[in-house]
Symmetry: C2
Subunit: 383 residues, 2 copies
C-alpha cells in the first residue's frame, strides 16, 4: 500500500443552516477542501451521512453532491455507519488511494438535522440502535448512554461532578473556534445547574445536534511537494461490536475502540504515549471516559481521573476536544468524524489559532457509531 | 494492487419474506456465502442497502449484520448508492482486498421492502431521484423512466412491441431459477395485454420489488487453491452522472455506463466483443436498451434491435439476464447488484443449472443507481 497524505481540508460552521440546502451545505465544505488542496478534480468521492433519506428526503448523496460540486461523472458513493459515518468515509478514501485505485479521493460528510423536529430526529437517531431490542423498547440514545453512565458511576465510585471537566474543557476550547456551535465558556456552576435530561446525564453531558459538513482531500504522499502540507495518515482502522449493549460481555468497556486503536497504533508503529492530542468522541461525557480507557490512555474505570487532574486540557498530558469536540463544536451526526479529522490536520499544520497546541506532531481521532458499536481510529502525523 | 478472486456466493430467494427479519434475511445470504467459501472469518464486511433506515427503522447495518452472522468486532460499514448499492459494496470489498488492507472481505447486500406499503416504498424510492427537481414535482421512478422511453421511441422510431423480447427473455430464464420471484414464462400476448402503469411503460416493462439478500466472499487470487473456484475480478469501475435527467446533455445516453464500462474494459484488457454474457440492469425495458448501447454492444438507438433479432437470448451473441434479471428474478433495490454478481459467478463456475450457457468464460455485470446517475460495471473471468 502507498503512503497517503491529506492535502486539503474544508468545513462549514456547525449551526442551524436555514438558508442552505443539503447540497449547498455539503458543497461548501467540499469546494473549500478542494481549493485548500489546489485540486479541481478527484477520482472518487466518499460521502459520509447517516440520515439524509429520512431527514432530507434525499438518498444517493454520492452522485448528488459530486454533480453539485462540479465532479459530475466522478465515482462516488455514500457510506453510513451511524455517528461514525464521517470516519468511515475517510477510511474508504484512504484505502482507495493507498491501493493505487485512485490518485485523489475526497472524503466528505454532511448532516442537515434541523429541518426535522427534535422528535423526528430522536426517532431517526434511534435507527442506529438495535431496532428489535433497544429502539423498539423506547430507548433513545440519551437513555442508552444514561444507563451506561449510571452503571459506570456505581461500579467505579465516581460522582457526577467528576465528569464536569469534559464539557468545561470542550466549551473553553470552542470559544476560540469560529466554526463551533457554542462559543461560550462554562464553569462548574453551569454544569451543576444544568437541567437533567435522563439521569445522570444533564444538558452539559450531552452534545448538541446541528447542521454541518466537512471534507478532506487525500492523495499519495509522494505526490505532495509542499512541505507545509505533508500530513501523513500513519494509522487507520475500524472495528465493530454488538449494537445492543446488553449483548456485550463488558458493557463498560469499548471493545471496538480497543481493537481499532490497537490496530492503528500497530500500523503507525507507536504507543499511546506518543500521541500528542486526541480528538475523541464526546457525544456524552461518559463516552469520553470510556474512549480514553479503551484506547490505552487510562486504566479501566479511571477515565474521569484524567479530566479531574487536568490532563485533558491544553498543556496537559493528552489534550482532547481541542477545538470544542462534539460537546461544543457540535455533533452533526454523520459529519462529526470528518470535523475531528479536519481539526487534527489544523493542529498538525499549526493552523488552530488560539487553540493551537505547543506540541502537535502526532494527532489521533476516534469516531464512535452507535453506543460503541462501530469505532474507527485514525492517527495522523506532520512530517 | 493484488489480483482478487470471488470464492464464495450466497443468496436468498427474492420473495415476500414475511417470516424473516431484516437481519435474518441478510444473515442467510452471508452465511451461505461464507460456507461456500469455506471461511469462518473475514477482515471486513461492506453492506449494500438503500432504505433500511426508513423501511425497517434500522440503520447502521454494518455492525448490525456483522454481529448477527458471528463476525462481531469485524470492521463493517453500509454503502449506499440507490439501486447500485450492491455493486458499490462489491467494489469497496474489491478495493480493500486488492490494496492488501484486507485478506478476506465480504460484499453483502439486503433490502426488505414488503414490510412497507407500496405507497411508502414509492416515496422511499423517490429519495434516489433529485429531491428538488424531480421527487418534489411528484415524479416517481416509473414516471422518470417513462419520460425517457417515450422520448427514445420518438427519436429512434421503435414501437412498443420491440421492447417485448427483454421481459420475454427474462421470464423464460427465470423459469429455471429457483431464487426468482416470477418463475412463469410470458409471451408476446402477455406483454401486449399487460396493464399500462405510466405510458409507455406497462407492467411487463417494469421490474418487481421484493425482499432479498445476496453476498460474495473476496480474497486474493493467489490464496485460492481450488481450481473450480478461481473466479477473478478482471474489471471494476464506477462513474456518476447528474441525478436530475434534465441536467444531462444527452438524456438518452447513459454516460456513466459508458465511462464505467470503458474503464472496466481497459482494466481487463478486453473489448466488448470478448464478453460472453451480460447481467444488465433491466429495472425497466428502456434501461436494457440504453445499457447495451452505452456499454458498446449496440449503436445509439439500436439497443432494441439486439432484442428483436434474438441476440440477447441464451445462445445469442450476448445473452442477458440469464437467470431472470431484475424483471423476473426480482429487484430488491440495494441487493440487486450482488444478485447480478452471484449469477455471473454461477455461470462462470458452470453452476447455473438449466440456465447454464455453453460459453461462459467472461461475464459482465452492470448495476444502475437512479435513472442512470451511478453506474458500476464489473467483469469476471473463470481462470
Amino acid at each position: 500500500m502507498r503512503d497517503v497524505a491529506v492535502i486539503g481540508i474544508g468545513q462549514t460552521p456547525v449551526a442551524e443552516h436555514w438558508d442552505k440546502s443539503l447540497k449547498e451545505l455539503a458543497g461548501e465544505a467540499v469546494i473549500a477542501a478542494m481549493r485548500d488542496a489546489g485540486r479541481e478534480y478527484a477520482d472518487g468521492m466518499f460521502m459520509g451521512n447517516m440520515m439524509s433519506g429520512s431527514a432530507n428526503h434525499q438518498q444517493h448523496l454520492g452522485a448528488y453532491i459530486a454533480d453539485w460540486v462540479g465532479l459530475r461523472f466522478t465515482e462516488a458513493a455514500k457510506i453510513e455507519s451511524a455517528c461514525s459515518s464521517g470516519a468511515a468515509s475517510f477510511r474508504a478514501a484512504f484505502i482507495a488511494v493507498a491501493s493505487g485505485e485512485m490518485d485523489c479521493a475526497i472524503a466528505a460528510a454532511v448532516e442537515k438535522m434541523t429541518d426535522s423536529t427534535s422528535d423526528e430526529i430522536t426517532t431517526q437517531l434511534a435507527t442506529a440502535a438495535d431496532a428489535d431490542y433497544e429502539a423498539g423498547m423506547g430507548l433513545s440514545f440519551v437513555a442508552l448512554n444514561a444507563l451506561i453512565m449510571q452503571r459506570y458511576m456505581h461500579e467505579y465510585g465516581w460522582g457526577k461532578e467528576h465528569f464536569a471537566p469534559f464539557p468545561i474543557n470542550a466549551h473553553a476550547n470552542a470559544a476560540h473556534n469560529p466554526n463551533a456551535r457554542f462559543q461560550e465558556p462554562i464553569n462548574l456552576a453551569t454544569y451543576e445547574k444544568a437541567g437533567m435530561i435522563c439521569p445522570p446525564i444533564n444538558l452539559m453531558d450531552a452534545s448538541p445536534m446541528g447542521d454541518g459538513a466537512a471534507a478532506l482531500v487525500l492523495v499519495p504522499l509522494d505526490s505532495v511537494s509542499s512541505t507545509a502540507k505533508r500530513i501523513r495518515i500513519i494509522g487507520s482502522a475500524g472495528a465493530t461490536d454488538s449494537i445492543a449493549i446488553h449483548h456485550r460481555k463488558e458493557p463498560l468497556f469499548l471493545q471496538a475502540a480497543y481493537l481499532s486503536s490497537q490496530k492503528a497504533y500497530k500500523m503507525a508503529g507507536i504507543t499511546p504515549s506518543e500521541i500528542d492530542f486526541f480528538e475523541l468522541h464526546d457525544a456524552f461525557s461518559i463516552m469520553s471516559a470510556l474512549s480514553l480507557e479503551a484506547s490505552g490512555f487510562a486504566e479501566r474505570g479511571q477515565g474521569p481521573r484524567m479530566a479531574v487532574e487536568g490532563e485533558i486540557f491544553p498543556g496537559g498530558r493528552l489534550p482532547v476536544s481541542t477545538r470544542g469536540g462534539l460537546k461544543a463544536r457540535g455533533h452533526p451526526v454523520g459529519a462529526t468524524g470528518l470535523y475531528q479529522l479536519v481539526e487534527v490536520v489544523q493542529q498538525l499544520r499549526g493552523e488552530a489559532g488560539k487553540n493551537q497546541l505547543d506540541r502537535a506532531r502526532i494527532g489521533m481521532a476516534q469516531n464512535i457509531g452507535g453506543s460503541g458499536s462501530n469505532i474507527i481510529t485514525h492517527i495522523l502525523q506532520a512530517i
